[in-house]
């Protein structure tokens, strides 16, 4: 018996945090989730798996892309044509309401909103019982694990669960605890919802397949699916990368000798040394900026340097198989140069100014845009803005110092 466990295809979700990419690269990235899915389907057919489990969030019902859903249907049809069973449970993004969704191909087994068991006999006469359910709504605060049946007589019992481990009081996504899952003695728990591939337990396997293609910087690293096969009564599993584009980061340290050109060279050299098999989208992190000249620092802050880098990247990215999409200047540990007499005032003011509330207040009308609001309400944004303000202050005071000295007469 052999099967594939995948989840969170999010076929119609765009890549986030990218801007001003060259057209060809843009296309390449845009096609990545589709190509990743295609690869998985092709692998399934080539590996002659018995069935494929898709544990939710195949697409986003908010987005409703015809192309994505038709594409998914085409791919699922390929599996059906190859006599590979497909089991789908919908998650919080593609929750089951019956409308606003294209029908999946005939032959695809879809779990209803109640936990049910589907039986399957594989080519090697293995009896498999697959238990699962689909979301009927955007949220599911209830713990559904008690609804999962105890082990039956099948050779293998598999649970499909789109949800998150219980944390705190606000749990909207079928909250569970790992011990709850291991308590039901299934042979495999196929989880979805968390986009990072992860293993919650080894015996029995409680596995997040992760999304098949990372779509933003927080979904860095390899993405793909789980290929699970039986050795007698044991299941062995293997993570198979399928992603076509990979998010990553690169940290470089700058000093007083760093110039625009030398930094670009350093970046290029570092990229060439990576030799990744998959195209990488890279966040460049720069350390040691306190040593940088004020002008260099301000060019980093106002992104003029990034634009210069982009010009170079456009020529080299396809060879380097990488693209720097963002440059982050790591905040310095050195204090901002303000009068010690007023230090307390600065700190008090910082605490007062750099709060999410004040950030929102300052953003004002911009908050009308939900995506901006979401971004700004993220505590990380406030922290980031604080760091950047400090960097700016540093750069400004440096500049001022130089200007003052230059102008003093």
């Amino acid at each position: 018996m052999k099967f594939i466990h995948a989840a969170d295809l999010h076929l119609d979700s765009p890549f986030e945090g990218l801007q001003r990419l060259p057209k060809a690269l843009w296309q390449q990235i845009h096609q990545a989730p589709f190509n990743a899915t295609k690869k998985m389907i092709t692998d399934a057919i080539e590996q002659k798996v018995d069935f494929v489990l898709l544990v939710g969030d195949l697409f986003d019902r908010e987005t409703q892309s015809v192309q994505a859903q038709v594409f998914l249907n085409e791919q699922l049809q390929r599996l059906c044509d190859a006599d590979i069973a497909v089991f789908v449970s919908f998650g919080n993004h593609d929750y089951l309401t019956g409308d606003q969704q294209l029908a999946l191909p005939e032959g695809v087994s879809v779990f209803g909103s109640e936990v049910t068991t589907k039986q399957l006999t594989t080519a090697d006469h293995t009896q498999v019982a697959i238990n699962g359910f689909s979301y009927a709504d955007r949220w599911l605060a209830e713990d559904v694990i008690p609804q999962f049946p105890k082990c039956g007589t099948a050779d293998f019992q598999i649970g499909m669960l789109h949800g998150a481990v219980k944390q705190g009081d606000n749990n909207h996504y079928a909250p569970f605890t790992v011990s709850e899952l291991t308590g039901i003695h299934y042979d495999y728990w196929a989880l979805g919802h968390i986009h990072k591939p992860s293993v919650l337990a080894e015996q029995p396997p409680v596995i997040y397949a992760g999304t098949i293609q990372g779509r933003h910087k927080l979904e860095a690293g390899q993405h793909g699916y789980q290929l699970v096969s039986s050795r007698g009564q044991r299941l062995t599993r293997q993570f198979v990368p399928a992603d076509q584009v990979r998010w990553s980061s690169l940290t470089l340290t700058v000093d007083e000798d760093t110039t625009d050109a030398s930094l670009i060279d350093a970046v290029q050299t570092a990229l060439t040394q990576r030799q990744s098999t998959v195209f990488e989208l890279i966040e460049l992190r720069l350390n040691g900026i306190e040593k940088l000249s004020a002008s260099m620092l301000s060019r980093l802050n106002d992104r003029t340097w990034l634009e210069r880098l982009d010009q170079t990247q456009k020529k080299t990215y396809s060879k380097a198989q990488a693209w720097i999409y963002e440059v982050n200047v790591q905040p310095t540990d050195q204090p901002v140069q303000y009068a010690q007499l007023d230090a307390a005032y600065w700190q008090r003011a910082q605490a007062k100014v750099f709060t999410p509330d004040n950030v929102e207040l300052t953003a004002g009308k911009l908050m009308q845009y939900p995506f901006i609001a979401d971004h700004l309400r993220d505590p990380k944004t406030t922290a980031n803005l604080t760091d950047r303000a400090k960097n700016e202050l540093l750069a400004q005071s440096r500049l001022e110092e130089e200007n003052d000295a230059d102008q003093n007469d």
Binding site: Q19, D342, L376
Partner: protein, 883 residues
Amino acid sequence: MQIKTIKIYGFGKFHDTTIDLSNRFSLLYGENEAGKSTLVAFITSMLFGFATAKHRYAMYQPKQGSQYGGELTFSHAQNDYWLKRVDGTHGGAVTLRNLTTDTALSKDDLTQLLQPLNQELFHQIFCFGERELQAVFDLNRFDLVKRIQRIGAIGSENWIGLTQELTASAGELYKPRGRVQPLVRLLKQYDELSEKLDIAKLQFQQYQTLQTDAVETTQELTAVQQQLANLTDQLNQYQRLIKLYPQYQQLKTEASTSETTPITTKDWQEATRLSTAVKQLKRDLTTQEQAIKQQQQHVASEAQQFYNAHQQQIDQLAGQISAVKQLQQRQQQNETQLVNVKQELEKLNQHYGMSLTNLKVLIPSEQQQIKALFEQQQHLSIERDSRADQRQEHQKTFEKLRQQADADTSSGMAPKWLIAGVGIVLVALFALSGLLRTAGGMIGMLVAGYGIFKPIISGNQQSAIDSQMALLSSQLDQDRQQLADLDQQLIDADAEVTKFGAQHRLQGFAPERWLDLQGDLSLYQAASTQQIQLQEQQNQLSQKIRTYLAQWQFAGDVISLGGSTEHQLQQISQFLSERQDESQRLHWANEALTTSTQRQTALQQQYQLQQGALTQLLSQYHLASFAEFEQRYQQDQTTAQQNQRLGVLNAQLTQTDRQILADSGSQEALEKTSQQLQAQQLAKKQRQSELLKQSSQQQYQLQHLASSDKYQNLLQQQADLQAEITALTDDWLTKKLLINWIDQTLINASQGRQPQIIKVAEQFFNELTGNRYRQIIFTDQTVQVVRKDGLTFDVGELSSGTAEQLYVALRFAFTKVMADVIAMPIIVDDAFVNFDRQRTQAAVKMLKGLAQTSQVIYLTANHDNLTLADEDEVYDLDAGKSV
């Protein structure tokens, strides 16, 4: 801190200059370019270090080669210090001595001593420049209030300057009501994109609707196709029925139900059989009657009547006739035998050319005798012939030898050869030439030679031949003797034979035939005997036959006897045969008549039987004659056929067909319905084609929507735009928050120092305004002042001059408050250039008041201001000395 003296080795335009600043208040006068700013820079450089090479213009390297740097004596916290700073690393080489304790101190000690100030802070708190105040005076009310509010923070002017710059650069990114800023533009772009997306998003519903529509279309299409199939069937039905209708109509009217029982086929067959039988019987009866009539005409002939009259006699004679005929046959056979024997005898006579009658057959011994004679004769003849041949042979040999002997002696040369050789030579001589002539001559000579010498070659043989000829001559004589003997013997033998022939009368025959003749002689004698016997028999037979024939003479006329016996016998036989035949015939005729009569009776009975049966059958159908029956049957048949056709028609018609036909009433009605159906069919066909077109359009649209990545692209574009906007928002917010932060800090600091500042400021403001205002009130929003008469004014309500005076009062109050914490000289670099006389006086008065707690160094380019200070307080920079 009180700076007592300044000693400049070389700094900017100054060299070897000493300035005494031991007063609490010092007024340094100098025209423009006199070095006021350089002096300020010198003081700060001495205290906080020379500017680095990076800030070239702030270094003030002396132009005239004097030593860079100078000295400073000052008192600080009840101690006097001597400070020397000359060119060196890290802001210059410092020498510091505590004069009070007379201890040498380090550069770090100086920094420690100046804590928490650095050059920048010192500038911000204790130095006033012309530009600084000027800038304030150019501010609008709002900004002025802001400045006033934030006056309590160190370096607030710079910070405010920075916030202004930041505000400007933030404004370049985004303004909430802006139109051209990049973020505004991007947001606009985003709004447009969102709209596009909303529209594109409709694709999904469109797709779903299309899908639903497509399913509906397909369903309708299926329905229409089904209907079309039904209509086509119906139409075919109607068209078939229209074709069948005339037939149907006809049958419907013709189909009469016969009341009488139809004649069954069996009855018809029976009746037909009976009728035929009756007719046949009738015919047979007629034939029979005629036959009987004919049969009754048979009578006996005259001969028969004669026969009947003499039957006994004739029958008796007739009984003998066969024996007589046998006799006659024997007679004929004998006759034939006689002829044969005669012929045989004749033949033998002819063969031998004479009558053999007198010859007797040789007995065996005689035959032996003659045989022996013949053999002897033959033997002798052979012996003689062989001897004759031998002699002839010898004769020939002898002759040959003799000829040979003759030839050898008679010829000398061979003249033929000689002549031939000469001929050849001649030919060669005349006819040939050359080598051939020589060869020909030679050959000719050789041939002639042979002719000449031939006899010499053969001469030796002569003697041998002569001896042989003698031998042969005697042989020939011997042969002749023997032959003569044999001829004698033969003559004797022939005599013997002739004697035998005479004895037996065989002289007429050649002796060699004698023995052969013996067989024929036997035969001849036998045949002669037989001839005699036969002749005798013939005579007897003729007698017997004649006797028999004589008995038949009574019927001579009837039988017409006459001619040869043979003929008569034949006549009698024929008569008898005819009688026998006729008797037979008469008998048979009689027999036949009886049979015919019996048959006639049987036929008659049968006829009546059949006729009865027929009549009975006909009566069943109430019919008198068979003709009527036949007619009725034909009618019934027609009816049956019609019924059958109706049946066939009915079989072609389904229940619905019949229903339609029954309902329609007429062909026209059928055709009308058919036309209606056609019209419906056409309509459905049109609908079908519409639906097909619609379906293909829908499929195309579906495919188009499914394959269109427009929406996905828009989504990604939106995400990209979001990233861009977010980044820009962060940039903008960074600036805005930084402004906010600085501002908040300034406010915080100002508010923290407000009580002291306000206390000092109220006094200064009062002095500056000539006691017109008595109180300053800070609120969160603004700053207010209370006039002498108790009226309260917002800063905004004040005249610009008064507002400026308020600022100056607050600014100096701040410095005073700070100087109370950190006692440092206050350096005022022509800060009041724009003040009128009166106000300048008030300001200087204020400075003098300030000097009671802090050293005040006032630099001015305005000569008039000299009058505002005491003489000992004034130093003329241009003059290089105190006035």
